[in-house]
């Protein structure tokens, strides 16, 4: 099951040129970018691991792509996303967040139904991948 989170997630995966264009858009708006990765793509897991520090004062998208490629090389089977953050007063929020790398196979989620008294039904999502310990998922 293909994970869809963040910006443009219903489009086919971006090529590197397209990612670079998006990065340029962020830089044009003055948004610092950061690269994050995770192997637990649960929709409620919003705090992913950071790849290095957020990148301030960058003028050219090549620098970001260089970091992204380093991250892909180290973690080829993780989810990696690139986010642009608007730090201006009154906004202070993530403006754009694209998944730029995903594992080749995404097993998806198990929907657990738990029956309660009075025919109540509680639902829980559990990622199949997260059954294995962190670091051994998506091998």
């Amino acid at each position: 099951m293909r994970i869809t989170q963040g910006t443009f997630s219903y489009l086919p995966d971006f090529t590197d040129d397209q990612i670079e264009a998006q990065v340029q858009y962020c830089l044009d708006n003055g948004w610092p970018l950061l690269i994050e990765y995770t192997d637990d793509p649960h929709p409620r897991n919003i705090l992913w691991e950071m790849w290095g520090m957020p990148m301030f004062d960058i003028k050219d998208p090549t620098a970001i792509m260089l970091e992204l490629n380093a991250c892909r090389k180290t973690l080829p089977r993780h989810y990696i996303r690139i986010s642009g953050y608007d730090r201006s007063l009154g906004r202070a929020s993530t403006m754009l967040s694209i998944i730029v790398n995903r594992p080749p196979e995404e097993p998806g989620f198990h929907l657990e139904r738990e029956g309660g008294p009075d025919r109540q039904m509680r639902y829980t999502l559990r990622s199949y991948a997260a059954d294995k310990p962190s670091g051994e998922r998506y091998q």
């Binding site: 090529t15 003028k59 090549t62 620098a63 892909r72």
Partner: protein, 336 residues
């Protein structure tokens, strides 16, 4: 990393690109290629204006200006060659600027960044100035991220490393500078399209530095030497600086300032244009206190004029005059 489908797509596009380049190249060879207008492209590129600006705003430095012109021509021709389909290797433009303090190395680097940007060699055209402190860390594992950070900031522009020889400390074999040097070399080689590195510093020490780091020497294509300014050139610089700030020297003050320069040049720590600027700043200070002391009504001309007494109050004039013959250019021994 990438999905197989994506990787496949990329190879396809690069193959197509190569095929089209080959097609262009062969068509250029078979048919007599259409002539391209060199002067029109030159005029369009905005570069003549920039070079004129360089001429008018920087005094002297003839060898440097000539070299900048040559580089501009080279890039222009490379661009035209590309247009008619001749395969052109991207010229390496890493440079070393050598010269004493205040000879305009940083200023020229800044202009160089703009010119390279207008010729389409670099994408952004900004200048990032770094010294050893910005590149080399203080403990194990600190250097690489620091150097990387600076390199990333300079991507698409020019990285200016001032006093580059401080990166290399032969007396301490565990110095972290070596790590920064290695990273710089890798980036200078692999990211030639993204960054232009300019190394700057005093001539003799730069030569030692290049000698002990042959990797740098072979990767730096252009060595520009910035000559010292003559007294006349320093006077021209002073006039230019004052004109920008809407001040002027009157005739007596001009003579006094020339004498001041003749005394100042042989002294230690003489820093060419920077010393001129500092001397003028002090003269402006004295002019201001003179005007306040005198009080009363002043005209706008009085506010702009620096007179002889403002210059003559310098402590240099209280010392005995320089030994004859008056040196116009200090020897290197006098200044080190």
């Amino acid at each position: 990393m990438t999905s197989p489908a994506r990787a496949g797509r990329q190879t396809a596009t690069s193959d197509e690109a190569r095929a089209s380049v080959q097609a262009e190249a062969s068509s250029a060879q078979s048919a007599p290629a259409e002539p391209v207008d060199v002067s029109a492209t030159y005029a369009d590129s905005n570069v003549p204006a920039l070079l004129d600006e360089l001429d008018s705003q920087l005094v002297g430095l003839k060898p440097v200006k000539d070299r900048v012109r040559e580089i501009a021509s080279l890039l222009l021709i490379a661009r035209l060659r590309e247009r008619v389909g001749l395969e052109t290797e991207r010229p390496t433009l890493h440079m070393s600027f050598t010269g004493r303090a205040g000879t305009g190395k940083t200023t020229v680097a800044m202009r160089m960044a703009t010119i390279l940007h207008h010729l389409g060699y670099i994408r952004k055209g900004h200048l990032v100035v770094a010294t050893r402190d910005d590149l080399v860390g203080q403990y194990v594992g600190h250097t690489a991220p620091k150097t990387k950070e600076v390199l990333k900031k300079a991507m698409g522009g020019v990285l200016f490393i001032d006093e580059a020889y401080y990166l290399y400390r032969p007396e301490n074999e565990r110095d972290y500078g070596q790590e920064a040097i290695e990273m710089l070399l890798t980036v200078m080689e692999n990211n030639r399209d993204d960054i232009v590195v300019v190394l700057a510093g005093y001539k003799e020490r730069m030569e030692t530095f290049f000698h002990s780091n042959p990797g740098f020497h072979s990767r730096v294509a252009h060595h520009l030497d910035f000559p010292d300014y003559s007294v006349d050139e320093l006077m021209a610089i002073a006039d230019l600086m004052l004109e920008h700030q809407h001040y002027r020297l009157d005739d007596d003050a001009r003579q006094a300032f020339r004498e001041y320069l003749e005394r100042r040049i042989p002294q230690p720590h003489f820093a060419n244009a920077r010393s001129v600027r500092n001397a003028l700043d002090r003269a402006k200070l004295r002019q201001a206190s003179r005007l306040v002391r005198n009080g009363g009504l002043v005209t706008s001309d009085e506010l702009a004029r620096i007179d002889e007494s403002d210059v003559r109050q310098s402590r240099l004039f209280n010392e005995p005059p320089p030994p004859s013959p008056p040196p116009t250019q200090g020897t290197s021994a006098a200044r080190v």
